[in-house]
């Protein structure tokens, strides 16, 4: 078999790379993550005349410098893996800016095919582009395409394979940056020439240009050879200083000027504008959708609409999932004899994973809604509208979406919320957002609120929920600000951001986006969470009651006069059992800490269990207050019980609500934070940070309230 060719797709964000990728590879694709960074890559296979070609979708970048993880990933892929051909997907309706990357690819010297995409959009804007001339001027094949309609895809593949078959060498393009810079580049390149073999196939000139641009990665690499660095870096410094003093500008900005100059020289020859469009449809839409009054109203309506849509659409499938896991649990219960194994499978595995996977439909619809916002171009406007407010707290306009999804309007989920921070490019703002998401009132906290509100604030239910929403935003934003002035202190990264034109999303694109993200979520639930669910189950089951006690309970139960009494005794036994388990003992020893908050051991056990998933809090309270199984959705009996229980009062309930709102994010969220930040450090930090804040707040509420005579 002949060797398989590899084609890498590069291009600006939003130029249509993923659409080209999907059109070329169909469903045969694989999504992964580059090690250490959260930049995704996708690989897939395409067929061309009976031969299989590997296609790689690189992250979207505007440039090939080394200042963002995306750019580094793309550049290192090209240099390290040397794909046979690079296809640069270029947005024809926005040619100048898109060619900036193309020129850098040519300067690097990769074998290039230009995919002139979105020619349909260019046409509607009255732009005529002479693709043949562009091809002649650049000396690379150019193929016109409309990726979302699969137009030009086979031609594109043919051109790429043809180029690959010619076994092309790398041919770096040399463009002039003006005599001063050119001279400096030549001087630096001379020194590098000697050390050429160390840099493999990269041209000395390219490396010289990068050194003068102050490219940290390349300079780092030079430093690895001390003799070279000793000679080279002083020369770089001198040349750069000379350029700065004669031209009154940094070398990298002069180089950029010349690159754009070179591009404008070419676009002048290939693009002709039939008519000048000053305000296109997209601009007119912006006049309305980002209008001072209409903008925020529309934004609020959209977010509100998303919630209603997501809950409405997922209601039925969530019930199916619940029923399925219920049925599965029942089936196992029916086949296995009672005992540890059955309990492990039913409560530990099926209960734990089912509890998290049960949310999958809801999360899928949430991702679907996000995909619509992203693919339509509205997401960038959300950031644009909200940036001014969020900046105050050290966050970014794009943080809004993550916070909303995480439960900003009550009822989201922190897991997709954390995943939604990927649109944030500023690393510190992104980290601060990730750590803020768990403060929001996710769907799993709501049953706890409703239980306690029904028990102690029954006459003020709606107001309480609204108040809790406000509190969670206040605390979340405050916690973000605190992080941004302490651990995550630092300049805000540039906001400068493209506002892509509004587009109608395609169903195919939406489905693929939704599926990829939902699958990632499900995979997490299936692996990590499985392990920890089993651990939590063990903590809440072992050690069981000693034999003689159990026998004593059994005797009493058997001797119970009525079914009612028997049920009550069974519940009491469950409570007794729980008290003796590891979790129960932990709950007891934690009372040292939680006494000042007013929490007894039963609340503690529930909170410990709630770390696995917040839903567990209500059901554990049920067991602890010997009510047997309590369905979180129907907890009236537990409400009544708590309201009547001595030692419970509204103040204590409120302290507990605040604690539940803020304390350690659930396991699934912790795992997702680990995944999205790349280290356990931040995941564990969030557990500690949130729990500490929760503790202090609950303490302040309870003790403060008591001091005011409320408790």
């Amino acid at each position: 078999m002949s060797r398989q060719y590899t084609i890498a797709l590069a291009g600006n964000p939003n130029a249509g790379k993923t659409s080209v990728f999907n059109a070329l590879t169909g469903a045969r694709q694989h999504v992964g993550n580059y090690p250490g960074v959260t930049v995704e890559y996708k690989e897939g296979l395409a067929q061309h005349q009976g031969r299989t070609v590997q296609v790689v979708d690189l992250p979207g970048t505007y440039s090939l410098t080394a200042y963002s993880p995306e750019e580094l990933v793309a550049r290192n892929y090209l240099i390290g893996r040397r794909p046979d051909v690079v296809v640069d997907v270029v947005d024809a309706s926005n040619l100048e800016r898109n060619l900036y990357l193309a020129v850098q690819l040519m300067e690097l010297g990769v074998p290039l095919v230009i995919c002139l995409n979105m020619v349909d959009v260019a046409k509607t804007r009255g732009l005529k582009i002479d693709a043949d001339k562009l091809s002649r001027l650049f000396g690379v094949p150019v193929v016109s395409t409309v990726a979302r309609q699969n137009q030009g895809m086979s031609e594109l593949l043919a051109a790429a394979v043809e180029l690959a078959e010619s076994k092309p060498e790398w041919h770096p393009l040399n463009i002039s940056y003006g005599s001063d810079v050119d001279q400096g580049v030549a001087e630096v390149a001379d020194i590098l020439q000697g050390a050429q073999e160390r840099h493999g196939l990269l041209s000395a000139r390219w490396l010289a240009v990068k050194c003068l641009e102050g490219d940290q990665e390349v300079i780092e690499r030079v430093r690895e050879t001390p003799e070279l660095a000793e000679k080279l870096l002083p020369v770089c410094g001198r040349v750069a200083g000379h350029i700065r003093s004669t031209m009154d500008d940094d070398p990298d900005s002069i180089i950029a000027d010349y690159r754009y100059g070179y591009i404008t020289g070419i676009t002048r020859q290939v693009v002709s504008s039939e008519r000048e469009v000053r305000m296109d449809l997209s601009d007119k839409l912006d006049q309305v959708l980002t209008h001072r009054l209409m903008g925020p109203i529309f934004l609020f309506a959209v977010l509100y609409g998303i919630y209603n849509f997501v809950f409405w659409a997922s209601e039925v499938p969530v019930v199916w999932f619940e029923q399925f896991f219920g049925w599965l649990g029942g089936a196992v219960e029916g086949t296995l004899p009672p005992g540890v194994l059955r309990s492990l499978i039913v409560s530990g595995i099926i209960g734990g994973v089912g509890g998290v996977l049960g949310f999958a439909p809801l999360i899928a619809f949430m991702f679907f809604a996000i995909a619509i916002m992203e693919d339509s171009g509205y997401m960038a406007r959300v950031a644009y509208i909200m940036d001014r407010v969020l900046r105050i707290f050290g966050l970014h306009g794009n943080s809004v979406m993550a916070l909303m999804v995480g439960g900003g309007l009550s009822g989201g989920c922190a897991v997709p919320g954390v995943m939604a921070t990927r649109t944030l490019k500023d690393p510190k703002a992104r980290l601060a957002t990730i750590l803020t998401v768990p403060f929001m009132n996710c769907g799993a906290k709501l049953p706890v609120y409703s239980l306690l509100i029904a028990a102690f604030f029954a006459h003020r239910q709606a107001e309480m929920l609204f108040l809790l929403t406000l509190i969670s935003w206040g605390l979340g934003l405050g916690a973000a600000k605190l992080l941004r002035v302490t651990l995550l202190r630092g300049e805000q990264a540039p906001f400068v951001m493209e506002l892509p034109p509004y587009r109608a999303p395609t169903m195919k694109g939406l489905v693929i986006h939704t599926w990829e993200r939902t699958w990632q979520y499900a995979k997490k639930a299936g692996t990590m969470i499985l392990g920890v669910s089993v651990l939590m189950w063990a903590a809440m089951s072992f050690p069981g009651l000693p034999q003689e006690q159990d026998a004593a309970w059994q005797k009493r139960i058997d001797a119970a006069p009525s079914a009612e009494a028997r049920l009550e005794l069974k519940s009491n036994r469950a409570q007794d059992e729980l008290a003796g388990t590891i979790a129960g003992r932990a709950g007891r020893s934690l009372t040292v800490l939680t006494d000042p908050l007013g929490f007894d051991w039963r609340a503690n056990v529930a909170l410990v269990g709630g770390f696995a998933a917040k839903e567990v809090i209500v059901s554990t309270l049920g067991v602890a207050y010997s009510l047997g199984e309590v369905d979180p959705e129907h907890s009236q009996s537990l409400s009544k019980r708590l309201a009547a229980e001595k030692g419970w009062n509204p103040l204590k309930a409120f302290a507990l609500i605040i604690f539940v709102m803020v304390y350690a994010p659930c396991l699934a969220t912790v795992v997702m934070i680990r995944k999205e930040t790349g280290t356990w450090r931040w995941a564990l930090f969030s557990v500690g940070y949130n729990t500490l804040i929760a503790y202090l707040l609950a303490l302040a509420v309870f003790q403060g309230g008591r001091a005011l005579g409320l408790g």
Partner: protein, 81 residues
């Protein structure tokens, strides 16, 4: 003489030509790679509800930047409002 002002001072609809991008570092680099350099024609499309950030059109596409970033960009007003 046309007056030289910064991008922050432009009103929606106004067109101008960039004279100078007075910042280096990451911000300057980012502006450059987005094609915001001396000689570039721009038009202000609008401002966000709280008057910040600003949306501009250049080279046939739309870009947004914060007012404190727009301060670094000196422009010469040209074309009608």
């Amino acid at each position: 003489m046309t007056p030289e002002v910064t991008l922050r001072q432009l009103k929606p609809g106004q067109r101008a030509v960039v004279k100078k991008v007075g910042t280096g570092g990451e911000l300057g680099r980012r502006m450059r790679e987005m094609g915001l350099l001396p000689g570039t024609e721009i038009q202000v499309i609008g401002r966000a509800p709280l008057k910040d950030p600003v949306e501009i059109k250049l080279r046939g596409y739309n870009l947004t930047l914060r007012n404190n970033e727009a301060d670094f960009i000196t422009v010469e007003i040209g074309g009608e409002a």
